[in-house]
């Protein structure tokens, strides 16, 4: 398995760096996320018919059809368009663009990322790679994200380190990270 090692811990972070970096494009990656929403791939155009289409169409300046993503919930793209024009369709401003998109929708909908990719020409996988790195960007509506919350709770957020340190400094009792064993007197 590429994703998990023999202990079941995540091995590949699906960051797409290897596929992006490979100079002769011998690495390609494709797949969908666990909720069947983010269908992405990265690799040489020949590998994926639709990628070749996209690249060719984009180079020729024609709109890129979005067939593979039709089943995603359609959203009103006007807010993304506003963001795009504010940042001049420039992928150099991807981070503030993603932040502004999230501010408009409350999260980053697939269709919005797809639209940013189409309009800026930045590869979808690259935008996805950026968006997944930054802790404050999210892919789920705040209301329906129990899974994301559980993950966030399992991974100590940056700021909780201060408190954890204070706990460890105060010594016994405060440093405990697991519930104490029942004490028999």
């Amino acid at each position: 398995q590429l994703l998990y090692d023999e202990y079941g811990t995540l091995k590949c972070e699906t960051c797409f760096q290897c596929a992006q970096a490979c100079p002769i494009e011998c690495i390609d990656m494709g797949g969908i996320d666990t909720k069947n929403r983010y269908h992405i791939h990265w690799g040489p155009p020949e590998t994926y018919g639709e990628r070749r289409d996209e690249s060719a169409l984009r180079r020729s300046g024609r709109p890129v059809p979005d067939r593979a993503y039709e089943h995603f919930a359609p959203i009103d793209l006007a807010p993304v368009d506003a963001v795009l024009s504010e940042y001049d369709y420039d992928p150099k401003h991807l981070l503030p663009m993603l932040e502004a998109t999230q501010a408009a929708y409350g999260y980053l909908p697939v269709a919005a990322i797809k639209h940013i990719s189409n309009m800026t020409g930045a590869w979808y996988a690259m935008i996805y790679g950026t968006a997944t790195y930054y802790g404050h960007l999210r892919f789920d509506k705040p209301a329906d994200r129990p899974q994301a919350d559980a993950l966030a709770a399992a991974r100590p957020p940056e700021s909780s380190y201060r408190d954890a340190l204070a706990g460890s400094l105060a010594g016994r009792g405060a440093a405990r990270r697991r519930p104490a064993r029942p004490r028999s007197n």
Partner: protein, 448 residues
């Protein structure tokens, strides 16, 4: 704003030399207190080459942790690329360590020192654009810097044809957030480019090929704030402060049971005096370890308190300046537990780009985890040592190299405590749980 700790009156002030203003963005007050005198002198009297010579002669080294000679970095940037090349200055005000507020304190107290330093750096390397990167969460600082930049531009210190040079200098603030690693220079540049924040292989260093592939000076905000002082008072005056190999002062965040605040400290000051700034220990407690350098810092024992607080001596002692954080732990703490906590944090924040980073730090953290939870293996000490040195040898960026310091310093200075955990599954300080605790610790605990 974190408080300023009282320091001995004979300690010189460089970065915090100006008095606190009621409104730090008030340009008139700042100029009356000397702001932009350095930039004026740099532009009208010195010129780019002489500035770089002056900064080199002062011996100024980067305050962001690595301590690279600043003048050298500027020289590399100024001579990289073609004469008309686009260049950048990036002020690193991210302040990655959540427990250290030194950079934040500096920017809140004297934004003009950072702006002026960035302007001098930009003039010296002929960069047309300087970017001050700060934490997105610190909306106050973003606002403060923006209004200060606006005022300085209006007064003609920066902006088009600044100080009648016929050149243009744009300074902007860029809030970034979302990961600890954003403090690392190549990661910060990636964020400014809108990319995934993973470090780059060096060389080429950012000074040769940085932001958008152009030569870029990335400098901690403290480093930049020291520059105007050097230009005004001269390299010799700066070199006279601090220690020989590390001149000048640095901001530390000293934290103990009594106090937690920022202080400007001459480099080379014995660690003991910095620990004293954090105030006395609680009644009946003795100092056990001092964590120097932040989450990836080293744990030093009281015997090492004579170590001068400067780049080289700290590295030799197994710690580093890092985020400027100095934390005092008394005898209630367990050094193995502390090392576990710190290693876990570093592993969680590692970016995942390379194997030492992605797997090395995680395995270190797993070993620490099992040692503190009663499941050690007898070979764990050996394994920790080997793995740590492999990670140091093969790391791509400093994060994974430094991430080994908490454990290696604990192994070096507190071998007995580690051995108790590994060989006898017991925690002398009675912290680690569910390890068996010695009877004495149980008797002393208030729960009984």
């Amino acid at each position: 704003m974190p408080g300023l700790l009282p320091t001995p009156t004979d300690w010189p002030r460089v970065m915090l030399a100006r008095p606190t203003a009621k409104d730090p963005a008030d340009l008139d007050v700042a100029v009356r207190n000397g702001a932009f005198a350095g930039l004026r002198r740099a532009v009208h009297e010195l010129g780019p080459e002489a500035i770089i010579r002056e900064v080199s002669a002062s011996g100024l080294r980067g305050r962001g942790g690595a301590g690279f000679p600043t003048g050298e970095k500027w020289r590399i940037c100024a001579t990289s690329g073609l004469p008309g090349q686009r260049r950048y200055v990036v002020a690193n005000g991210y302040g990655a360590d959540p427990a250290s507020g030194t950079d934040r304190y500096l920017m809140e107290r004297d934004p003009y020192a950072v702006i002026e330093g960035a302007a001098i750096a930009a003039f010296a390397v002929s960069a047309g654009e300087a970017i001050i990167a700060v934490r997105g969460e610190d909306a106050e600082i973003v606002r403060l810097l923006e209004s200060a930049i606006g005022a300085a531009e209006e007064a003609g210190f920066i902006g088009p044809d600044f100080l009648e040079t016929g050149m243009e200098l744009t300074i902007s603030v860029r809030p970034v957030q979302g990961a600890y690693m954003l403090g690392e220079e190549t990661v910060l540049l990636k964020a400014l480019e809108g990319k995934r924040g993973q470090p780059e292989q060096r060389p080429p260093h950012p000074a040769e090929r940085g932001l958008f592939g152009q030569p870029t000076v990335v400098q901690n905000v403290q480093t930049l704030a020291a520059v105007p002082w050097i230009v005004v008072n001269g390299a010799a005056a700066f070199a006279a402060i601090g220690s020989k190999g590390s001149p000048g002062t640095v901001l530390v965040q000293a934290r103990g049971a009594a106090r937690d605040g920022v202080a400007e400290v001459p480099l080379g000051t014995p660690l003991r005096e910095i620990v004293a700034l954090a105030g006395p220990l609680p009644q009946g407690r003795t100092a056990k370890a001092v964590l120097v350098g932040g989450p990836s810092g080293g744990l030093l024992p009281p015997e090492m308190l004579d170590t001068p607080y400067e780049f080289d001596a700290l590295r030799a002692a197994g710690a580093h300046i890092g985020s400027g954080s100095v934390v005092v732990a008394d005898d209630r703490a367990c050094t193995v537990d502390l090392a576990r906590l710190l290693t876990r944090f570093c592993a969680d924040e590692a970016c995942g780009k390379t194997i030492p980073c992605r797997i090395g730090t995680r395995r270190l953290s797993e070993i620490a985890e099992r040692v503190t939870s009663g499941r050690p293996r007898p070979t764990d000490t050996q394994l920790l040592g080997d793995l740590a040195s492999d990670v140091v040898e093969s790391g791509l960026c400093d994060h994974e190299r430094l991430a080994t310091l908490p454990l290696t310093s604990a192994m070096r200075y507190f071998p007995a405590e580690l051995e108790e955990h590994i060989l006898r599954s017991s925690c002398p300080a009675g912290v680690c749980n569910p390890i068996a605790m010695p009877a004495t610790a149980l008797a002393a605990s208030p729960a009984h």
